[in-house]
């Protein structure tokens, strides 16, 4: 066991995790359940088949106020936030001045409200909030919400389950957000998630979190799901994990996240390192983030070197493991652009051996979001 002298923070659901038999591990400064007695494999498969409840209260939530908070926030992200419609959420990248990715985050414009609602990664929240506050000084004010909790209910049964406690909630389609009452508890509910499945993220007061979690866990379709399955689900869905697949040394274009740059933003070039990033869109990058499917059964983990068929190292895996829904190993990583085409044969250097693999399209498991129309 690792000796940890740091004091771990606890989410409002900590006692519930322990009560449910969660195996607690340090993650982003929090004592979090990596799995419950169900086990990662079954938790993963259950989420794809029915519904899983995740505690993501460690993530950072904040409101951003000001005369025009959307325009203000565009100073630090290439997302089109001015164009974000009421009742909608949008994915964004927080950039440093060199165009490196400081974090990825979600921005919501709630209907009839002037403030924007933000959710950022747990491991980055202090840094993000300080950066945003500093860069937006005088034009917008950031109010972190440490007293809010965040639950994710994910899977094909999530909508039916939530509708039992929040009639009409199914009217929200993918990326829509609304304030709603769930079992009488006031919440901000979005039709979003990070598993590739249909589902919801539910922001509530910390004081209400355990009560709502217990209500949802009583539903026959719902099991509590730990961080282990959250990681394998998002990897199969081809979604980036901050600190692994993207970080301050990676840029949006090589990370294959051009879709997170608004059309108007590309023209106006008014975000950090805009000239450089727009140039990369048109002229390409030296490396690219790609999906990788090993031919064999051995998983290749984060940090594994990727070589061409002559043994020259051409890249590195940034997330890798076993995909329970595919019953096969899956990975993503960066390769020199000449090796980025789907189907390109490569070798993964695992324990000194070259394991054959191929560049493969992502997501590995099709997304099943409930889109409008």
């Amino acid at each position: 066991m690792t000796d940890t002298t740091q004091i771990l923070r606890k989410t409002p659901l900590h006692a519930l995790h322990v009560e449910l038999g969660g195996k607690m591990v340090p993650f982003a400064g929090y004592d979090m359940p990596v799995q419950y007695p169900t086990g990662i494999l079954k938790e993963h498969l259950h989420t794809r088949e029915k519904a899983g409840l995740f505690d993501v209260s460690h993530m950072g939530q904040a409101f951003l106020s000001g005369d025009d908070p959307a325009r203000a926030l565009e100073r630090v992200t290439p997302a089109d936030l001015v164009g974000l419609k009421e009742g909608m959420q949008r994915y964004g990248l927080l950039l440093n001045d060199a165009g490196g990715i400081k974090d990825d985050f979600m921005t919501t414009r709630l209907a009839g409200e002037r403030d924007l609602y933000l959710v950022v990664n747990a491991s980055m929240k202090e840094s993000d909030f300080a950066y945003i506050a500093e860069r937006l000084k005088g034009i917008a004010t950031l109010a972190p919400q440490p007293d809010r909790a965040l639950l994710a209910l994910q899977g094909p049964a999530a909508a039916a389950v939530l509708a039992r406690h929040a009639p009409g909630i199914d009217a929200l389609t993918f990326m829509k957000v609304a304030r709603a009452q769930i079992a009488g508890i006031p919440a901000i509910v979005s039709r979003t998630g990070y598993t590739g499945e249909d589902g919801f993220e539910i922001s509530i007061a910390a004081a209400d979190a355990a009560r709502l979690a217990r209500i949802l866990l009583k539903e026959p379709e719902v099991l509590p799901i730990g961080l282990g399955a959250r990681d394998s689900l998002r990897l199969e869905a081809g979604l980036c994990l901050y600190g692994h697949d993207i970080d301050e040394t990676t840029e949006p274009v090589e990370a294959n996240l051009v879709w997170a740059i608004g059309k108007r933003r590309k023209t106006d070039k008014d975000f950090p390192a805009a000239e450089k990033i727009v140039d990369r869109i048109f002229n390409g990058t030296a490396r690219k983030r790609v999906g990788i499917r090993p031919d064999g059964k051995a998983p290749a983990r984060d940090g594994t070197e990727i070589a061409d068929k002559k043994g020259r190292v051409v890249g590195r895996i940034t997330s890798g493991g076993f995909g329970p829904s595919l019953n096969a190993p899956v990975a993503m990583g960066y390769v020199e652009t000449a090796f980025a085409a789907d189907g390109t044969e490569i070798d993964l250097l695992v324990r000194g051996k070259a394991m054959p693999a191929r560049v493969a399209p992502m997501p590995f498991v099709p997304h099943r979001y409930k889109r409008a129309g």
């Binding site: 799995q35 990662i40 494999l41 993963h44 282990g228 059964k297 051995a298 998983p299 983990r301 324990r351």
Partner: protein, 124 residues
């Protein structure tokens, strides 16, 4: 009479005459979680005491399996290639990893007895 001993790296070895069967302990299997891949040694491979002989991977991570005693690999549990979950289902039985011809059975005396291992695991 067979005799089972345990290592501080959570392998078990069961010796019957000069034949030794090796696997990972129930405690190790529980700590690893769902096993999804096992890399077994080659038949005929000679392994020294404490040398890396196999790899076991769960959804979470990869771990090395070390030879509790020295010897020559005579058989591997090929069933684990198709069904690595056997390691979780029956770690100290059907989930064995490999068999070896022990080079020196006396090496066993340095390993933990079942009672000593049970005590050792308590502290972890």
């Amino acid at each position: 009479m067979s005799e089972t001993r345990f290592t501080d790296q959570h392998e078990w070895v069961r010796v019957d005459g000069a034949e030794a069967t090796v696997g990972i302990t129930k405690h190790a299997a529980e700590q690893l979680g769902d096993v999804v891949f096992v890399e077994l040694p080659k038949i005929g491979q000679s392994v020294g005491k404490g040398a890396e002989a196999a790899v076991v991977e769960s959804v979470k991570a990869a771990s090395e399996v070390y030879a509790p005693i020295g010897g020559t690999v005579t058989e591997v549990n090929a069933a684990l290639n198709d069904d690595p979950a056997k390691v979780n289902a029956d770690p100290e039985g059907n989930g064995w990893f490999f068999k070896m011809k022990a080079a020196d059975v006396a090496q066993l005396s340095a390993l933990m007895t079942p009672a000593q291992y049970a005590e050792y695991v308590k502290g972890h």
